[in-house]
């Protein structure tokens, strides 16, 4: 049977199933039952994206059936298989949505993940931009054997590829005891093929969130996915018609399908690749989607990949712990003279890991010494901040904290595999030399495993940290000669531009002014460019002619004016990967901030997802703004609107994280003690009702109540 025929049959099959499921649920709960996919502001994202309709009830879902049917064209032209393919994915979303009518958690207690939250989509932003996730694979069906399944999945993980699983391969992962979940970038989506609906939902939301593609803009979605989402599909034989139909949709989106099915299968260049050697699929797939992976070869006995960054090592699985909260530990980068460094020398001073009993809490410090003609001491902290991500990429190792408050857990699995302290040095050496090769010529690592020595060394290190803090503190927007633009996100959010200043870090929280400076110096034509600050137009809101000019050029004309310190007057745009979003709360004339991690409702009556959907994609929305966590304690935070004093609500977890810093800022700016105590959170105002917030603030005497109302 010809390829087109297979697609048509498969899409008919998916549509019939959707029709049956939707009609059954309507018969059960009626047409007026609410239909809310959990934790998303994008309704049924596929329907919203491609058809432009907001489905909120079962009745609306039923009505959408005819829209999907209308997409399933039957001409002998590629347009028909493409549209039918996308229609198939939407029908799949409808089948899955029916499961969420009666419960928001239909997959709870199962092996499957099901629907993705907006927060999960947003979490992908930064790693996609930094190429930590160079692509996505959707694997369908059982692999020829469990061993092969594990091998290929691990292969993808080791290359940083995000893996979605559908069907029998999930059982194979369970059988092999593989750790799965969103944080390790290996997600068992669903057992049935309809799970593709969840994946395409995630894809369309990526386009809406980061690309500001508007619902109903069919061409816009396809251009975005084709150009910017490096996804592909691996479908194991036998591939059913319904899977072929889903494949047509994937190919329309720009995602090639690789299969070993030769029966009635038709190869299409760069789109449908038939390779019977399933063990060769990883390279075949990466080549088909044009994904090039920069591999840093690191000489350690366990895997190294961004896929392991989110891995948690529980106490029971832990061999030893380097715990800065109990014993003297620290991590440090030091610039040295080239003559003082023997390149690639990894020195462990003190006993190795195998000399400690299981469960030990050990005092360890590691100092990375670098030399290079282009090296500057300001880069030291930039490198240091990378250690967290470098070390977390080691399979079976967990790193948290920074400076002298680090904690590293090394798992039993790693220990048994022969992982030693010296391997920490190997990782740091390899990554520094590969990421910063333009400024670092030589590098050596000193690892001290000696409590006595570390006590002394830590005191020394703290002097260095203090000195740095002094310098950082002295660095204000006024004191530095230039700002930097950052367009790292433009790969996904083509019209967004961040302007990074010492007192306002990038909204992703990952790019400080020093980072931007280092990035600029490491790659002068790269994503961070110098923004002069010679033509200040309005100091209060932070309006500069220079900034406007840069923003206009870099946004390709999408934006004309941006202020640095205002939420209301031409606020800075957001790409979509912001850590926090703040929005004006009109009853109190304050602002509410929430974070990606907090899924609950804010006093605006909106969740993070809903607030976040107000902005993002490089769109300017006065009254809403995405930003980094550390910006909140900045003296420049909402300076135009009166500053930090406007802050009335925060999720408690974030409040605790930044408590000391905001207290210090409020003390300095307004002479208010313990300002954090005035700020409401979900424990005091958790209903989403602004009335509750007004009462709480009045009761506690929040200083915002004495402020002039904002000019909304």
């Amino acid at each position: 049977m010809a390829l087109f025929e297979r697609v048509f049959r498969g899409s008919d099959e998916m549509f019939a199933k959707a029709e049956a499921e939707v009609n059954a649920i309507v018969a059960k709960v009626g047409r007026d039952a609410p239909l809310n996919m959990p934790n998303t502001a994008y309704y049924l994202a596929c329907i919203y994206a491609y058809i432009g309709k907001k489905v909120t009830t079962t009745g609306e879902l039923q009505d959408a059936l005819q829209d999907v049917k209308a997409m399933m064209l039957r001409e002998p032209r590629t347009k028909s298989i493409f549209w039918s393919g996308v229609g198939t994915a939407i029908a799949a979303e409808m089948i899955e949505a029916c499961k969420y009518v009666e419960t928001p958690t239909p997959y709870e207690g199962t092996k499957y993940h099901g629907h993705f939250s907006d927060a999960e989509v947003r979490e992908l932003g930064v790693p996609l931009v930094t190429n930590d996730i160079p692509g996505f694979v959707v694997m369908i069906g059982p692999a020829p054997s469990t061993e092969e399944a594990v091998e290929i999945v691990k292969g993808y993980q080791s290359r940083g590829i995000f893996v979605f699983l559908i069907g029998g391969i999930i059982d194979q992962m369970y059988e092999a005891g593989i750790n799965m979940g969103f944080p390790v970038r290996l997600v068992p989506v669903t057992d049935e093929i309809w799970g593709v609906g969840h994946i395409i939902s995630l894809v369309t939301r990526t386009a809406m969130i980061f690309g500001n593609v508007q619902p109903g803009d069919w061409d816009g979605f396809h251009k975005y996915t084709f150009d910017r989402i490096n996804a592909f599909v691996n479908a194991y034989a036998p591939v059913a018609d319904i899977t072929v139909a889903c494949g047509a949709g994937a190919i329309k989106l720009g995602f090639p399908v690789i299969t070993n099915d030769t029966d009635d299968m038709w190869s299409v260049p760069k789109s449908l690749v038939i390779n019977t050697d399933t063990k060769d699929w990883i390279d075949t797939s990466l080549e088909a989607r044009g994904i090039k992976i920069k591999v840093t070869k690191i000489d350690i006995p366990v895997a190294f990949s961004t896929a392991y960054e989110g891995e948690i090592i529980r106490k029971a699985d832990m061999q030893v712990e380097i715990d800065g909260s109990r014993v003297d530990c620290f991590e440090l980068v030091q610039t040295k003279d080239a003559t003082e460094i023997e390149d690639h020398k990894i020195e462990v001073i003190g006993p190795e890991i195998d000399e400690f009993p299981e469960g030990s809490k050990i005092s360890v410090s590691y100092t990375v010494e670098v030399a290079g003609k282009g090296m500057q001491t300001d880069f030291e902290s930039v490198f240091e901040r990378k250690f967290h991500s470098y070390l977390n990429c080691v399979e079976g190792l967990m790193h948290t904290g920074q400076r002298d408050m680090i904690r590293i857990r090394i798992s039993k699995v790693d220990y048994e595999a022969g992982f030693k302290f010296k391997h920490i040095g190997e990782v740091l050496y390899a990554k520094i030399m590969s990421d910063f090769d333009t400024v670092v010529d030589k590098c050596q690592v000193k690892i001290v495993v000696d409590a006595e020595k570390n006590k002394e060394l830590r005191a020394e290190a703290n002097k260095i940290f203090d000195k740095r803090d002094e310098r950082l503190k002295s660095m204000t927007d006024e004191s530095v000669p230039v700002f930097y633009s950052c367009i790292m996100c433009q790969a996904f959010s083509p019209s967004h531009v961040c302007v990074v200043t010492p007192e306002r870090l990038g909204l992703c929280g990952a790019v400080s002014w020093l980072d931007a400076k280092a990035t600029n110096e490491l790659d002068p034509t790269g994503p961070c460019q110098v923004v002069t600050k010679e033509k200040c137009l309005d100091e209060r809101v932070g309006r500069y002619e220079d900034v406007d000019e840069v923003v206009y050029n870099l946004s390709h004309g999408a934006l004309e004016h941006v202020t640095l310190y205002s939420l209301l007057e031409d606020p800075m745009t957001s790409c979509g990967c912001f850590e926090c979003i703040c929005g004006i709360e009109p009853c109190t004339m304050g602002v509410v901030i929430t974070t990606r991690e907090y899924a609950g409702i804010t006093p605006l009556g909106m969740t993070f997802s809903e607030m976040a959907s107000m902005t993002g994609g490089g769109v300017q929305t006065p009254g809403f703004m995405g930003h980094g966590k550390h910006y909140i304690a900045s003296k420049k935070f909402l300076k135009a609107e009166g500053g930090l004093k406007r802050l009335v609500w925060l999720p408690s977890e974030l409040k605790e994280q930044i408590r000391d810093k905001i207290n210090a800022t409020a003390k300095e700016l307004y002479d208010i003690d313990n300002f954090a105590d005035f700020i409401a959170d979900e424990t005091t105002c958790g209903t989403g009702d602004p009335e509750e917030l007004v009462n709480y603030l009045a009761e506690i005497g929040h200083p915002v109540l004495e402020m002039e109302p904002m000019d909304i």
């Binding site: 010809a2 032209r77 190869s267 260049p269 760069k270 690749v273 390779n275 390279d283």
Partner: protein
């Protein structure tokens, strides 16, 4: 579909009209006027039933006088005329090929002409059993050239290039007795057969038409193409611009027109000479701008990105811009009208070939031996002529489209390599294209070629057919004036992908090609024969089974009839938009268009359809039928 970005026929016609106003001012004649004067045409001539082969006639066939004086009926007369028409075209293309072979024979390391593609030379030498090892490349070149020249008159055997065709095709030719022998022999025999008192059997005459055509496509034209590649480089994708707006107001505009690249290559070379540029500046110009018309334009566009001012029916327009310092011509498709027209302006009309001598022209004879010197002389003349320009008459229409051209078979394979997967595919094959067709993503291909003809609205048929075909996921390969029509409209811009159906659009995006592939000049239709051969071989089917048709919607020259014959004889169904003077004989029509003639001999035939929509539907239908027959 997004056709708005294209330059429309209406815009082009408006530009022509504004130029004709200038023409009226200076008292110039125009083809538009001459068409009116010549209409209606002679009915006997149109039906092919006028015979003036001997002086007993001319005889004309009517119901009352169904036979000529010698007794020949309408079928014999029509078939004889058809064969003579073919012979004219075959001779023309082949003589062009011969001339290039002579140029190759003259090539030397320090001469005006050099070997620019030694790989291709060695490949041909290999095919022809010419020793290459340890030999100087120019020794090889000279032997290859001489061997090629012998193909024109060798006493025994068939043409060497026939071995390139698929086995099945060769068998068909042998079976039908149409495998060409020496190139000149088929033309001579055509004239012999059609002499008074020789053949009047339509079947024999039509068969020999195919044979004479094949001696062109698989002989003279193929030699022209191949040796041009050896001498001037095998075309690779290159960006250029097209339409009259490529002429520059402030520069010396030299228009090269005709077919033979030996002249234009030299003109292009000397236009870049600092001494010449200085001369242009000394005469008040900002520099020298070369642009092309007709197939010479295709040749230099494909190899150097020289802009294309226009095609056949735009040749008078370039002079009418008032900004043409010199129109330099070699051979074929040159209007004698250019002579008198150039006299209405400051334009120098420079003829260069003893083959194309015309009144009112400056004749500067060009030969391989004196190429450099003569080319320089011509460029100099043009530069010095800049100061004679009348600024009041200058009117360069603001029409200009981007185009990517240069898709030789070698270049197409290279592009296709870009979409292979090294884990499953081989490089250097047509398989990616075959797979795209087999899966249905692309439905098939149309090879669109040929001229302009005032009998149909100029360029309209080319452009409208192309638009509809690409909208239907059918890729179009083009050459000659058809190629220029596409380029002028903007259909060779990479952005033209937006005018395609989703399948072809995706292919264009992935491969990085425009939907209309410029394969060269009219001799380069031989490239299309090789392309079809490679597709058939890689796919494992016969050429006649490929969902591919040929099309010449605006053809006018004898060359086009010769081409039509070899395209059909190669197994490709061919659609014509202009009647080839055969209406007077149902027997000839049956042989050319029915099931019992060419269809039986070579598995393909002609369709003549003047209704554009119908023609397009018929081509799509033929492609779909071929697909159905292959079960795809």
């Amino acid at each position: 579909m997004n056709f708005e970005k294209l330059i429309s026929i209406e815009q082009m016609e408006a530009a022509t009209n504004s130029l004709l106003e200038t023409g009226a001012k200076v008292g110039a004649d125009s083809w538009q006027q001459r068409v009116e004067n010549q209409t209606p045409h002679c009915k006997f001539g149109e039906q092919g039933i006028c015979c003036r082969i001997c002086s007993m006639g001319p005889c004309r066939i009517t119901p009352k006088s169904p036979r000529g004086i010698c007794g020949c009926d309408a079928h014999g007369i029509v078939a004889r005329n058809y064969l003579r028409f073919t012979a004219g075209g075959s001779a023309t293309h082949s003589d062009h090929g011969r001339s290039i072979a002579h140029t190759l024979y003259q090539a030397s390391a320090d001469g005006a002409y050099q070997v620019k593609d030694p790989d291709k030379l060695l490949k041909i030498a290999g095919e022809w059993g010419i020793k290459t090892e340890g030999r100087d490349i120019y020794d090889v070149a000279h032997e290859v050239a001489e061997t090629g020249l012998m193909e024109y008159g060798k006493p025994f055997g068939n043409l060497r290039f026939l071995d390139r065709a698929p086995k099945h095709t060769q068998e068909l030719w042998d079976k039908a007795g149409i495998a060409p022998r020496a190139i000149d022999r088929e033309v001579s025999q055509a004239l012999h057969m059609t002499h008074m008192g020789c053949s009047s059997l339509p079947e024999a005459l039509i068969k020999h038409s195919l044979r004479a055509g094949l001696s062109d496509g698989w002989g003279g034209s193929m030699m022209g193409t191949e040796f041009s590649d050896v001498l001037f480089g095998t075309p690779k994708p290159i960006d250029t611009q097209a339409n009259l707006g490529v002429m520059e107001k402030d520069m010396v505009n030299i228009i090269v027109h005709g077919h033979d690249p030996s002249l234009s290559e030299m003109i292009v070379f000397y236009a870049q000479d600092p001494e010449m540029i200085a001369l242009a500046k000394a005469n008040g110009a900002k520099g020298i701008n070369i642009a092309g018309v007709c197939c010479t334009s295709n040749e230099v566009a494909m190899r150097h990105g020289i802009p294309m001012a226009g095609n056949f029916l735009q040749q008078e327009n370039v002079v009418l811009t008032g900004a043409c310092e010199a129109i330099v011509v070699d051979v074929q498709c040159i209007f004698p009208a250019l002579g008198p027209l150039s006299k209405c302006f400051h334009t120098k009309f420079i003829t260069t070939s003893p083959i194309a001598r015309m009144p009112d022209s400056d004749f500067i004879e060009f030969s391989d031996e004196t190429a450099a010197e003569k080319a320089k002389e011509i460029v100099k003349l043009a530069c010095e002529n800049f100061k004679n320009r009348n600024p009041d008459l200058v009117n360069i229409p603001d029409l200009k489209a981007n185009a990517r051209v240069g898709y030789s078979v070698e270049a197409i394979k290279k592009c296709l390599d870009g979409v292979t997967n090294s884990h499953v595919d081989e490089l250097g094959t047509m398989m990616p294209l075959v797979d795209a067709v087999k899966s249905g993503v692309i439905r098939g291909a149309v090879a669109m070629v040929g001229c302009n003809n005032p009998k149909v609205r100029a360029d309209y048929s080319h452009i409208e057919l192309m638009k509809k075909l690409i909208e239907n996921d059918i890729i179009v390969i083009v050459s000659g004036c058809s190629a220029q029509a596409a380029a002028k409209a903007g259909l060779m811009d990479l952005e033209a992908k937006d005018c395609c159906g989703e399948g072809l659009r995706r292919v264009c995006e992935l491969v990085g090609i425009p939907p209309i592939l410029h394969m060269g000049s009219c001799v380069d239709i031989s490239r299309m024969m090789i392309l079809a051969t490679d597709i058939a071989n890689d796919w494992g089917i016969n050429i006649s089974q490929i969902p591919l048709v040929g099309c010449a919607p605006e053809w006018m020259s004898e060359k086009a009839v010769s081409i039509g014959n070899y395209v059909v004889a190669t197994g490709i169904d061919t659609f014509l938009g202009v009647e080839p003077f055969c209406e007077g004989s149902e027997e000839v029509i049956e042989l050319l268009r029915g099931e019992s003639g060419t269809k039986q001999w070579v598995e393909a035939n002609f369709t003549v359809e003047k209704d554009l929509d119908k023609m397009c539907d018929l081509m799509i239908e033929t492609i779909e039928k071929k697909r159905a027959a292959l079960n795809i």
